[in-house]
């Protein structure tokens, strides 16, 4: 097996990311996708504060939005939701 090496930055020092860490995309870890029922959602932001991966976004007008590029599907958001508005749906039920 021939080997390929990667250029290593000086002293392995790398720039800090600003929005997300593009080198460790974790969306493909997820097998259950969080899906919110916007009718039920009270926008209390509990799911947002408890997401270990900072994947819950309330900045958009249409309410809660999950960052599916990184969401690992842990389900913490669903468990902490005080009104039970977040369900977990098998990832393969979605085409994209």
């Amino acid at each position: 097996m021939s080997k390929t090496y990667k250029q290593v930055p000086f002293a392995a020092i790398v720039p800090s990311p600003t929005v997300s860490n593009e080198h460790m995309v974790t969306g493909n870890w997820r097998y259950l996708r969080p899906v919110v029922d916007k009718g039920q959602c009270t926008q209390c932001k509990t799911c947002w504060i408890f997401c270990p991966d900072a994947c819950v976004d309330f900045s958009k007008d249409e309410g809660v939005d999950f960052n599916l590029k990184y969401c690992k599907g842990c389900g913490v958001c669903s468990s902490v939701c005080p009104v039970g508005a977040i369900s977990r749906v098998p990832e393969l039920d979605f085409d994209e």
Binding site: M1, T26, G27, N28, W29, R30, Y31, K72, G73, C74, P90, E91, L92
Partner: protein, 231 residues
């Protein structure tokens, strides 16, 4: 200098993809059972976790490997399967967003633990340029067989595994692999597994979808494993 020699030309490489921690033991068991069954048939075998994936984290895609060869394994200390003949997905979602056919040998068979129709899963298999090597996709709904999933740290990080080998869904998946690929015989698998019923059920209930039949396959898998009900 490169010598034009084939190293381990007859070795079958099995890569079992799984999810870190939660399904790690079952995937390791699938690989271990296949290797043990090969050993029972007098072959030379190896099985191990992919070191680069360790320590595994909950949900992280990771791999366990098995190798079965009629000859002594010469790449004994190469610790990744670069050219799999058999790709097993212990969890169905792994079909999406992972290059499971990376390095696949012509004639590669993919076995997926899923209740879904194999035809519905084809669109996700990647990389697309390796689809020509894909001989068949086999599906087994191992989770429905009631064998369960074992969670243990025994057997990780190079320790011995004193728990039961092949008691859960990993055994059913191994049975499905045996049927879909013919890499080991059912009897040998049954002889080494804790949950013999699960092995047999996996063997019986697997459905196989041929994909690229008729190509000149270079790998050691039999062209048409016996008793397969081609769907």
């Amino acid at each position: 200098m490169t010598l034009a020699v084939a190293i381990d030309p007859n070795m079958l490489e099995v890569t079992v993809w799984t999810r870190g921690v939660t399904l790690a033991k079952e995937a390791r068991d699938t690989a271990t059972l296949l290797a043990k069954a090969g050993k029972a048939e007098g072959k030379h075998v190896q099985s191990f976790d992919n070191y680069v994936d360790l320590p595994d984290r909950i949900g992280v895609p990771c791999k366990s490997y098995a190798r079965i060869s009629p000859d002594p394994i010469e790449t004994f200390y190469e610790y990744e399967n670069y050219r799999p003949d058999i790709v097993v997905l212990a969890e169905e979602t792994l079909v999406k967003g992972h290059n499971i056919l990376g390095g696949a040998k012509p004639g590669c068979v993919v076995v997926i633990n899923t209740a879904r129709d194999p035809e519905k899963l084809l669109k996700w298999i990647s990389p697309k340029e390796n689809m020509k090597h894909l001989k068949a996709v086999a599906c087994i709904d191992a989770n429905a067989l009631g064998a369960g999933v074992m969670l243990t740290f025994d057997g990780t990080e190079g320790s011995g595994d004193d728990t039961k080998i092949g008691a859960g869904v990993g055994a059913a998946i191994a049975g499905a692999v045996a049927k879909a690929t013919g890499c080991v015989k059912l009897e040998s698998l049954v002889s080494v597994a804790e949950n013999k019923a699960a092995v047999k059920q996996g063997y019986e209930k697997v459905t196989v979808l041929p994909v690229c039949k008729g190509e000149a396959f270079a790998c050691g898998l039999p062209e048409d494993p016996q008793e397969i009900k081609w769907k």
